[in-house]
């Protein structure tokens, strides 16, 4: 789980952190994702096939990276009652299946009128290279 969780909207501050969350994206986990997400390209499961495409080895589907970043945000939301409204991702470099990666982020903007928080999020490898970057919008409804 995340080390940090969202507070009430009024207590949010620019720079509040999401994560970090560490995960070994094992080849078994990748295969499971590929199966449940119906993504049957061998570039995700077969190192040789991936190398034939010029990749360094089997890689994570972009949808899996997006899903891991979505989880980072929903873990941060926790039981606060907030709702993930939008996420956007840009795939800068492949995430290698079987590698250890870290997801993290921070709050970049809040909008009191809309009761939303904008966050920057990313996945980095063990060399601190940001492989996938993104942004998300979280909406904090008024408490009843």
């Amino acid at each position: 789980m995340a080390n940090h969780q969202a507070k009430d909207f009024g207590d949010l501050e620019i720079g509040d952190e999401l994560g970090p969350e560490h995960i070994l994206v094992s080849k078994d986990l990748t295969r499971l994702f590929v199966r449940v997400a119906h993504m049957d390209s061998p570039r995700f499961t077969d190192d040789e096939a991936a190398r034939a495409e010029g990749l360094p080895g089997a890689i994570l589907p972009g949808n899996m990276s997006l899903s891991l970043l979505t989880k980072l945000v929903t873990d941060w939301i926790g039981s606060s009652g907030a709702r993930l409204a939008r996420i956007g991702t840009t795939y800068r470099s492949p995430v290698i299946s079987g590698s250890s990666v870290t997801m993290q982020g921070f709050v970049t903007h809040t909008d009191a009128a809309e009761r939303t928080a904008e966050v920057d999020i990313w996945i980095e490898n063990e060399d601190a290279e940001r492989l996938v970057i993104g942004t998300a919008t979280v909406h904090f409804p008024l408490k009843k």
Partner: protein
């Protein structure tokens, strides 16, 4: 030179898929695949007491619904083979076990950018996911990039 394309491409729905049923088992398998342990997505009893009033799928479950077999035939091509440059997903409503989800896709926009490595064309395909009650549950913008 500005990228050339037929403006009639923009906004025309080129594909609608058949409804795909969602099962609790599929949601559980998806949770295992992303190491999801949040009880709102994994525990029926805990989820029933939460804001959604029952078990729902993690938001990114939306990306598991596949476009039709001919999807890529409708993605306009410019220069090199396009690759997946990123996605934007707007989550409108939760997806629940028992839902039947269908996708309708259209070309949302085509634009050109020039960077240090040269000129690139981006094609954005929007897939709108709707449930059996014709409620939109998500919009997914797929961003494909080609080098010209």
């Amino acid at each position: 030179m500005a990228v050339q394309y037929d403006p009639a491409l923009i906004g025309r729905v080129f594909e609608e898929t058949e409804p795909v049923p969602v099962t609790a088992e599929q949601i559980k398998a998806f949770c295992r695949a992303i190491d999801e342990t949040n009880p709102l997505f994994t525990d029926e009893a805990a989820a029933s007491a939460g804001a959604n009033g029952g078990l729902v799928a993690p938001p990114s479950f939306a990306v598991t619904f596949r476009n039709g077999r001919d999807f890529f035939k409708h993605v306009p091509r410019f220069g090199t083979r396009g690759f997946d440059a990123g996605k934007d997903v707007e989550f409108v409503a939760p997806i629940r076990p028992g839902d039947k989800i269908r996708l309708a896709s259209h070309v949302k926009e085509i634009y050109e950018k020039t960077g240090r490595s040269g000129s690139m064309v981006f094609v954005v395909i929007r897939s709108t996911l709707s449930n059996q009650n014709d409620e939109v549950v998500a919009h997914i913008d797929h961003r494909f990039m080609s080098r010209t």
